[in-house]
Point group: C2
Chain length 409, copies 2
Amino acid sequence: MTRDPADERRTVEEHAAIVARMLEPLTEQPATESVPLDHALGRVTAAEVRSEVDLPLFRNSQMDGYAVRAADVRSAPVALEVSGDIPAGHASPVSLIPGTALRIMTGAPVPTGADAIVPVEDTELVLGRDDDLSGAVVEIRRPRKRGEYVRERGSDLRRGEVLVEAGTRLAPRHLAALAAAGVETVTVRARLRVGILTSGTELVTGSTPAFGQVYDANGIALAALVEEAGATVSMRASSSDDPAAFERILDDALHSSDLVITSGGISRGAYEVVREVLHPHGADVTTVAMQPGGPQATAVIGGVPVFAFPGNPVSTQVSFTVFLRGPLRAAAGLPAVQPMEATLTHRVVSVPGRRQFLRGRLDGDGGVAPASGPSSHLVAGMAQADVLIDIPTDTEVLDEGAAVTVWTL
Amino acid sequence: MTRDPADERRTVEEHAAIVARMLEPLTEQPATESVPLDHALGRVTAAEVRSEVDLPLFRNSQMDGYAVRAADVRSAPVALEVSGDIPAGHASPVSLIPGTALRIMTGAPVPTGADAIVPVEDTELVLGRDDDLSGAVVEIRRPRKRGEYVRERGSDLRRGEVLVEAGTRLAPRHLAALAAAGVETVTVRARLRVGILTSGTELVTGSTPAFGQVYDANGIALAALVEEAGATVSMRASSSDDPAAFERILDDALHSSDLVITSGGISRGAYEVVREVLHPHGADVTTVAMQPGGPQATAVIGGVPVFAFPGNPVSTQVSFTVFLRGPLRAAAGLPAVQPMEATLTHRVVSVPGRRQFLRGRLDGDGGVAPASGPSSHLVAGMAQADVLIDIPTDTEVLDEGAAVTVWTL
């Protein structure tokens, strides 16, 4: 068994920088797509959206009540003839005869000549009925000033003004504003298409493992991590340790994806299929000074970046979280996950020379405890964690009460 | 125009309690459904999931290297005959001949009789080749203790132990653990099915508004709010102010939904279609001492709760946020949105007797400023907000620097 020529351990920061640089073409100039408003919740706008209309579209009433000339109700109470009725959705412009009132509903266009709305609460029909306004007379009980309860056209937003800024993650209130302005589709950042390949003759999915086999946990974990990071899974497949089989699914993945993630097959063993297949493509196979997740490889094949993570389930998930979550979230326009400070509630030991990412559980009170052992096969243990505890490279022991950086999972 | 007999204003807390009580049958005993793991990301488990298997499934190697008896490598360096090879996924149990070593890959079953793994880094083949182990001899350079680099069966989780607790929002790490244990489907809380009906002859969708008409912003806003709160939209429709038309879509919604939300048509005007249709069903039509969102109605029709919100776009969104977001999130098993404290960066005036929910924008530094005016038609203004500023009922003025409660939108 020969040693890798490039056997110096790379730091996490160095490898993260390499990964980020490989993704630069995808993150610096993200692709865009146009989606109907109904499918735009949570998507991130690729450009600002300016309104093509004034909002409100027309001068309208803020209240159910009566449209009047303020001059006619200066000395309330005063009785005015009701010269008509303007329901919301009324189809043609109406004029107010001076000295009269027009009944008006909230949102209905304010008639020409009217300059104030008297809310129905401040009125009483002294002649006529709600359902028959012919010959009706309304008593206006309170004087109103010009403009009261009138929503001027464009008072919310003028045509040409920005409805939604570029880079906005679309929430319900943004969709409401876009819909109100008649916008039907919006240009958003396209989701990066990620191919996910797990390798290992020992992996089974959908059947009961024979002796020596295990269920594939990495395919679903990576798929879910990719989705959480705002990308989409273009393809997901598993192969044995047979290079021809792996090459086949890799080829499919390269054709359908913006980037490809693999798990397994890159350490120093004898059946390292991913390493073997990536090698002729000039793969950068390295060991990062971290635990779990040390063995890492990257390649660019036909312009498509490939990230090869080690196959232990915890290593795979930690590798994604440390190296890909940030760039993928950035590409999707999602905010970065910020590190937090916490206090160790238990003493931990670490391996000097490796930055260790322990699985930890916050206690809701600023404290964090390891959620399981450090070993990278503890997939059930990792399910108990909610953070990674970031133990610096040159640490052997951290005592209870020590301050640590934690990363939300 | 007659006054409503129950015209006393209800407080926000009182109305919220009524809404919560109406939803109790749905929130206290939430329906469940079984979903495949691939569709379970973000869903909330309805029951704990216990493992039917030990994890790991079998005793296996933590490293690529050689399986040995610790007793045989007590005084390293020592040369051992390589008596065979165990790749990962190897299909039948193997025994170790005492005094020899078996090459083993990470994850492969540890042979009977072996009790330690020597990592490949600590070995050298002194006879034979990696690709031809016949007659090979390996030099073990470091002694190993019993159990080193051996992952015992069940050392992660034992059969019958809890994999995922009830009420867990399924993240990638949970899906990985479930998959590793061979779980294929998981029982989660069913999403509440919500029917959304917007009313108003003035509303148009998908065509250009004629004079006096406006685009419907409430349908999409409510649909998005419902989805964000962990429920699903069973039906979305819009009707004119014609009672027969509204009754028709209401009937459809009642048949396909766990609850129904309507917007518009419940104030004191002359064409209040929702109010008119709900009235014979014993609707509770009320005015809540809040702004926006004062006019509110509720009904239970054929066992289905109906919540009627006022139709101004800001009123609709604020009503949902104040009254339905909490109960729907609780029903979905999502954490409550917690109020935060912020400092006003501008003076605000309010209407005594009404709790006001101003649209506000956080400045990232603990400060909050109103994002638009208080009027409930400012749908574009609301898109600029990220919080509601909660101005207490009996407040007329709050000066710059005052502490306020804000609710994240």
